[in-house]
Symmetry: C2
Subunit: 300 residues, 2 copies
């Protein structure tokens, strides 16, 4: 089934306790589409400046990602983020953020994209997300991400959005902020009651919680000893999850759980190197092999 993602395409500068990488390829739509491409063709919608190298576009296209919806704004610069990870590699501080072309981004989707069946709305304002939804009337599964910034500053549009989407993927801190509940199980259930049929709460190195009307469960992260750069882990999780769902063509409870597991493993590879470097070397066989290990790990 067709899978569309709308999100950021970015330059990231990453500082970890042991290394620094300047101006590497990043952005939610990039990580998402790259991991989703292991399962299904992906349509990408995003915006970059004229400083964005063609080699990055070719890298995405080499994975079968459709970049017809990647706008290039002449004379403008690409979205830029600089962050520093703390020694625990789970918390990070934003050192610099330049919205650049993302500032006025209001996607007008190519005609072809409007027929998408599976849609993921990555980081962006609820208002923008609502306008995208209008352009995709035939989508059978819509999942969104959101951020603390929009929870604080656009609560009304976010409430509207929550009533129109099927699933929400957010991190633990955002779930607490949005619900006002400290206990994550209560937080997840409260967010689900705001509208989405299911909610996934990402806990970084501690895995993810899933909430639907009938189920609450947790899947742990895959215990990797090699965490080099956590950037993009959450978007890779969403990409693995949505990619698998789109390939299966349904979102029954059983499929959803398998999809969460693939998302978990996609994220576990992403963090093993900077930017997309580990993903560039990743084969579907490795992903499937880790799935065998993961299932064995959880069986007793």
């Amino acid at each position: 089934m067709s899978l569309l993602v709308i999100g950021s395409v970015a330059f990231d500068s990453i500082e970890t306790p042991s290394a620094v990488r300047e101006q590497v390829l990043g952005g939610s739509a990039v990580y998402f589409s790259y991991t989703a491409s292991y399962f299904t063709p992906v349509w990408l919608s995003g915006v970059v400046g004229e400083d964005f190298p063609q080699e990055h576009v070719r890298l995405l296209q080499s994975r079968g990602i459709d970049t017809a919806g990647l706008q290039v704004v002449p004379g403008a610069k690409t979205f830029y983020w600089r962050g520093r990870y703390r020694p625990n590699m789970n918390d990070r501080d934003t050192l610099d953020l330049q919205m650049n072309v993302m500032g006025q981004y209001d996607p007008i989707l190519p005609e072809k994209y409007r027929s998408c069946k599976f849609l993921f709305l990555a980081n962006g304002s609820p208002q923008t997300h609502l306008r995208i939804l209008e352009q995709c009337p035939g989508a059978s599964l819509v999942v969104a991400d959101t951020m603390d910034h929009y929870i604080r500053n656009e609560p009304e549009d976010l409430r509207k959005l929550l009533k129109k989407i099927d699933g929400l993927v957010i991190n633990d801190g955002e779930a607490r902020l949005l619900s006002g509940e400290e206990n994550l199980v209560q937080a997840g259930q409260a967010v689900r009651a705001m509208g989405p049929r299911f909610v996934v709460v990402k806990k970084g190195e501690h895995g993810a919680l899933f909430f639907s009307q009938f189920e609450t469960y947790v899947l742990p992260a895959f215990p990797t000893p090699q965490v080099v750069d956590p950037t993009g882990a959450g978007d890779s999780f969403a990409g693995g999850m949505m990619g698998y769902l789109a390939r299966q063509g349904d979102f029954q409870p059983k499929t959803l759980k398998e999809a969460l597991a693939y998302g978990t493993l996609a994220a576990s590879f992403t963090v093993e190197d900077f930017s997309l470097d580990r993903l560039k070397r990743l084969t579907l066989e490795e992903l499937d092999q880790r799935m065998v290990e993961y299932k064995r790990m959880l069986s007793f």
Copy 2:
């Protein structure tokens, strides 16, 4: 198989964001023996002052726990701890700590206890633990806990102890402190290399990591929406784990994993009320029912 625990028997005063409980029954040996008693008879070794009520002793005995090794020191007071949980219910601050009778506690085990096959050394100094080991030459499985205090202040005795035990159960912060590694997978593997055949790293609400020479895995905590008082969760985990192992009478990899799962669930009940209040109402049927749910949660 016979299971012996040596640890604290205490009065706890607990402050959470929503309630306060004064001078309730607590202590590592209490939580441990109570949860282990669902699986096997337990021998308890500990010390209290003459202020310790008989009803607490009777409560333990009602679960088949042998209290022959519970010393009562005339004229002395029972170990006392007062703590306050932060809003996240995972971090806590010690507000008061009175060692009292625990200060000079150096257990001389009853003759019967010295034949124990399964031994758990709960919170106590490595030096004391080493002396207990000499009294139990026939133990076939020895597992210990330790604390940041001993990692910092008795590193040499702790190193000696680590070479003589089969398993170590510690929390995430202690694993990092002991190993000097931030990544928990690396930390657990480093601690295992110090001697024990296996290491369990407890992550509180995020579950536990297991490390042996051949296996590394993670089991998530059971997602309970009702966290009233996390005190004793770690000791209940150890009690469920060791109780199950003693009942099965072996510690093969398969049995160990099942044991970790039972420990996880024992802890999930403990946190649902103050002190032993939830455990007092717990039936083995409830525990087994939650195991069915837990296994279903992890299957896909």
